[in-house]
Symmetry: C2
Subunit: 241 residues, 2 copies
């Protein structure tokens, strides 16, 4: 039996108790991990997470496509912001995309030392959970949150993933946060559109006019993508783990 642990914020990642044989599953529903899935659904070959905008500019000058968002808004020099629906409407076949976001790439930086990272969102719950069941490893779910605070939408998605993994009989939730995320998900799942309207990040994106993205980010299992870290970039269902 493998364990499931949930970190409700990047600031709690260093206090996780799982230490051996684990995959970190990063969740940033609004919108980085949903957008990663969308990029692969549109044919991207790789998504390279980049922390700083200076580094991203280096990638741009080398000819990479770039995506960058700060505080919910597209960064001027980048080709794309953080919108999954823009990626879905763009042919990215074979392209490599350098990508920097407020919260998502911070979580990736943090998880790199584990060696094993995958990416989850509501859109790829079935795909990523099926892939996790094949890996025979412990799972640490890392909610990206908003600037290190707790985010409702990431926690609900974590709870949905805990539910699927727990019900498989192959995984055992080991921390209070995984149980709490599960209860939150189960008490909300029949009314997600209403529940998430109260979330701070949802309201932030409404103010930025991102309603189409918001609707997309809470759709479940519309993507078959499983972005997996290969040491340098995310590839779709990369088999090296």
């Amino acid at each position: 039996m493998n364990s499931i642990e949930v970190c409700l914020s990047p600031a709690l990642y260093k206090y996780k108790t799982t230490t051996d044989n684990y995959i970190v599953v990063i969740i940033d529903v609004l919108r980085a991990t949903t957008a990663f899935c969308a990029a692969f659904d549109s044919g991207a070959r790789a998504v390279i997470p980049v922390s700083g905008l200076d580094e991203l500019l280096v990638y741009k000058n080398k000819g990479y496509l770039t995506a960058a968002e700060r505080d919910g808004k597209k960064v001027d020099f980048a080709n794309f912001g953080n919108s999954p629906t823009v990626f879905l409407n763009t042919d990215l076949n074979g392209k490599e995309l350098a990508y920097s976001t407020t919260n998502g790439t911070q979580a990736v930086e943090m998880a790199k030392s584990s060696g094993n990272i995958a990416v989850a969102a509501f859109v790829n719950l079935k795909a990523v959970s099926g892939w996790l069941m094949e890996q025979q490893k412990n799972v640490v779910i890392l909610c990206s949150g908003w600037k290190n605070t707790f985010s409702l939408e990431d926690t609900l998605c974590a709870g949905a993933l805990v539910e699927i993994l727990d019900q498989s009989g192959q995984f055992n939730p080991i921390c209070d946060a995984s149980g709490a995320a599960l209860v939150l998900w189960q008490s909300s799942k029949n009314d997600i559109p209403e529940v998430v309207k109260n979330a701070n990040h949802y309201q932030r994106l409404v103010k930025l006019g991102q309603l189409v993205d918001l609707q997309h980010c809470f759709q479940i299992n519309t993507s078959e993508a499983v972005p997996v870290w290969n040491g340098k970039a995310f590839l779709n269902r990369h088999p090296s783990i």
Copy 2:
């Protein structure tokens, strides 16, 4: 209208967004804040939070009563451990108690800079919420957790406090964590004894044989105490804020 913000772990306290005119309400249900209430119920004049055991020994040598717990167990040289039921069965009339615990006093250290600190647990929910309603200040609820990780029992108690303050019409929850704590509490409150049996800290204390304490810590409104910080110690309903 005053705001309510919830920090689900001491590690998240530095990311709070409330900055003005606030009281920090520390919750450590198992068992520090429940025990603080019990000490006042038994007549204590003051509870002095102390971080380190070296400092606590200085207090002991000066003639203070001392209480200390590490990893759930009483520290040898101290008069008391962290057991609220032991305090309830001891006459502490007029005594000053120097007190050091694994998680609770860490939270106090963190909150000191705010100047305004009160203490909550299930046992004093009505008393502390009534007192908070009189203060006309914003509220930041700080869950002590376990070694910086999320604790179910502290979050449930935070949710119960959010419910009372929210229903008063004087307070407005401003963060996702306050909403999540409220949902967790509302989905659990009719079955708290069963729900908390799954909590890691509950199981830790069961293993240490602390069943009587556990039953006490989940009783609601058995205490009239409102431990309030005066800059040096907690006093019962200290009026200086």
